[in-house]
Structures are given as structure tokens and as C-alpha cells.
């Protein structure tokens, strides 16, 4: 695999963080790009965390929680599912490939599934390459080209 990319995972403590632990206990080899942030529940994940992370320069964000019906807090992942689905569909308008963000459900027992998720997500991000950042290019370029910004048709 090419140079590591910056992939951030927001995982609920009860299921997916445990699933990642289980994968570790099972010595299921995974790519090393991912950095996991432990959350109490996928319902704690404000979509803005994902946006902040992507706009701030992460190449991919992976959210994982308990399977629907299995939330330790009964309902957190139901809210998460709606919020994150809306978020995923929102990304294209701001020029971010929706494939840079995935959300999924992995239980504490699903070590192998976690390995699969991490591996395929990391491959997906590598296929997309480094993220483009809004702050990385200044308007000087546009000005030097003499572009006059036309209003939306």
C-alpha cells in the first residue's frame, strides 16, 4: 500500500470499539492508517465532527456503532443512522466524495467483520487518494486568471 492516509474512526464504546478489540485479540491484521476515537455511543456523534475532520484534512472518516436494535443506550444508533445518512448525502454538494465517509455497525463480537470493514474502507480511501482541502488554495489563482465569478445559472 502507498503512503499512509489520514483516516479517523469514531467508534461507540460498547459495540464497535469492542469489535476492534476483538479483532485485535484475534490478531486480525489490518491496515495502519486508521486512528480510533472512542465515543460512548454512535448517538454522541455530531455530524459536525465528521465534517470538521474532513474539512480539517482527514482523508476518510469511518463511524461505527452497535447494530440497530442493539444500542447499549437503546436508541442512540437510530438517531445516528438518520443523521449520518443525511450527512453522507450532503457531502457531494461541498465537493467531498461521499465515499470518504462511511458509517456501519459492528458488534463487539464481530472481530472479523471489523477487519473487513477497516480493510475495505482503507482501500476505498486509498483509491480516492488524499482529500482536497478548501483552505489549501487561495483565490489568488482565480484572480490571476482573471476569472469573474458568475452567479449560479
Amino acid at each position: 500500500m502507498d503512503k499512509e492516509l489520514r483516516i479517523v474512526g469514531f467508534l461507540c464504546n460498547w459495540c464497535s470499539y469492542g469489535g476492534a478489540d476483538t479483532a485485535g485479540v484475534g490478531r486480525f491484521v489490518q491496515p495502519t492508517d486508521l486512528r480510533i476515537i472512542r465515543m460512548p455511543c454512535s448517538g454522541r456523534i455530531d455530524p459536525l465532527f465528521v465534517l470538521k475532520t474532513l474539512i480539517g484534512g482527514a482523508d476518510g472518516v469511518l463511524v461505527s456503532g452497535c447494530h440497530p436494535r442493539d444500542c447499549h443506550y437503546a436508541e442512540g444508533n437510530y438517531y445516528a443512522r438518520r443523521r449520518l445518512e443525511v450527512l453522507k448525502r450532503f457531502l457531494p454538494i461541498i465537493g467531498i466524495d461521499p465515499g470518504r465517509f462511511e458509517y456501519t455497525w459492528v458488534s463487539a463480537s464481530e472481530g472479523q467483520r471489523w477487519q473487513h470493514v477497516v480493510t475495505s474502507f482503507t482501500n476505498q480511501i486509498h483509491a480516492l487518494g488524499p482529500v482536497q482541502r478548501i483552505g489549501r488554495q487561495s483565490l489568488a489563482k482565480a484572480c490571476s486568471l482573471g476569472t469573474v465569478l458568475e452567479p449560479l445559472a
Binding site: L139, A140, C143, S144, L145, G146, V148, L149, E150, P151
Partner: protein, 353 residues
Amino acid sequence: MDALFLADDKLSAWLGELAAARRVLVPVREREAVVFRPYAAGVTPVLDRQANVPPKASVFPASEALMSFRYTKNPENLGQVAVEVHETIDAPPTVVFGGRPCDARGFLVFDRVYDTPKIQDTAYKKRRENTLFVTLACDDPQNTCFCNSIGSSPYDATGSDVLLTPVSGGYLVECASERGKELVESKLLSDGNALREEAKTVHASALSALGPAWNPSPAKAKLIEKFEDMGFWEDVSAKCISCGACTYLCPTCYCFNVTDERTGMKGERIRTWDTCMSYLFTLEASGHNPRPTKAHRLKNRVGHKFSYYPEIHGGPIACCGCGRCISLCPVSVDIREIVRLSIERPTAKPENK
């Protein structure tokens, strides 16, 4: 000094000359907004109307790093941390081209605050020194313009270094300061003395288009008188939505906020524009806020411009009459009307409590 002439077709060449050694900021159109952007070949300046955003940032950026700092640890004792500080001033030689007289005059209001014998804001001063203004006189003022009422005019060259006046086929170019001379030393400019008369006609017609001037000076006392008249302020601020458009787009509003932004072991001390229309402007650490409502805050903005500033700085009011706070206000709050009402409307007697 002689007046010069710049033909329309020489404009870009002149800009090109100016831009060779300096950053030249020109008004350009982006969607329906006109903003100042660095000139480069191919950029078409928009000179037929007032820019939405004045060239304030040329001397007083919306955000600037005053200094950068870095923490270093004593390897023997990690608990001991030293800090290194580097002052940073970004002050490239700059020409602001195509602003209006009001835009350039705005900095005179700044100067009385940031460049005084007692207090000198080094970053401001450095940039002010490095920035020249090639100003375009207005030939047809907008409905919201009122420079004539605050003691100026559509062709007032105070604060500018070069004044351009649109005449047939091009511009009359007049030096307005010593520093302006270096700018007009160009072979592209020809003798323009013959066009002085035409320029005067342009000036006169612009002035008359503004209509009769009104006198804001009685407001100085009246606004103090109305300090406790919150009924008045609630009334005139009712429509205000407390955004910062008026202050950020005002060529004379000079308030700022300072914050340290740090990541890891390094960071910067940032100065950013602040707006007195925001609740946060006066929010104190205790949670107390001396200006808790928009009425208090609008009172401050109008009071500061037309009463407190003149009081402190010996006369001039802190307004250049550009009218952006009116034309760009999402709800058309009209500062002229508020000043007039403060003068005309009887002041309510404070209730004895």
C-alpha cells in the same frame, strides 16, 4: 501640480506598472458583490459603482497574526516550559486602486486611534505607511450616500494619494499627496490640465445629486442626552438583527478582538475584526454584559460615531458617509434616520426610581 490624463485604454497598462513593485488591490465583481482583490493581468476592475466591501482590510486585515509563539520544554524537567515569541507584521507595499473618497477617508478615523503620539499600533502603522490610495471620485452617488453631510464630498481627496475623476475618454489624474507623486510618474499619463474644467463639472453634478446636506453635529449632545432613553433606542433598533454587516463593511469601524490560537506546542496571537453589534463584544468573563440588548448596542454604534468619538478625538465624527451600513443592511436600518431622530425627537425624561 499639474493634472494628468489617463486614457481608458491605458488603464490596464498603468495598473500593470503599479503592480510590478506593489500589491495593487482593485475592486472586482464576484457574483453581485464587488470586493477588492489583488490585481493581476486580465483582471477587470469594476469602477462604475461602490464596492460592497471597502478596502479596509488593506491596512486593517480581518484577521492577522500579531505574533507567533512556541513552547519548549526543559528536557531535564518536562514540567518547566519556556515560550519563544516572534512578532509578525505582514505589510507589503500596497496600492488601493479604485476606492472612493469615503473609503480612503475612513482611515483618518483609524489614525486618531492607532497612530497617536501616545499610542502606536505598530502593525497598523507599518501597513498604513506602506499603503497608498488611488481614489476615484464619484460621478453619480448612490441613494445611501451622505458624505456631504459629514463634511466631505464625492471628490474629497483627503486621505487619498491620487484622485481620479472620470472624464470623457478616461480619467483626470491629480496628485493628492506627496506620496502620490511616485505613482503618477508614468509615461502612460499625459497632460490633463485642459480637462480640469470638465472634472469640476463632474464634481459639481455629483455633489448636487446628493441633495441638500444635513447637519449631524447637534447629535453630539443629543446622543448623550438620549443615553438613558432606552425607549428611543428600543424603537430605532427594533428591526436590527444584530449581525455585523454594518460594522465589518464600515470603513471607519476599527474594533478588534485578540485571541491566542494554539495547536500542540505552537500557536499565534490573532487579531480579528470585532463588532459592537454582537452580544459577545462586551460579554464579560463573569457572565455580566453591560450591553445586553441590541438597543444598547445600536446606541453604542451610533453614539460612538456621532458623539463619543468626536468628543474624545476633538471634533471629527467617525463616519465617512459611504452608506454601506444602510445599503447592505439585511433589514435596511438607516443610520441617517437614527441620527436625525436623535436630534429631532424629544428625549424622554428618565423615570425617577
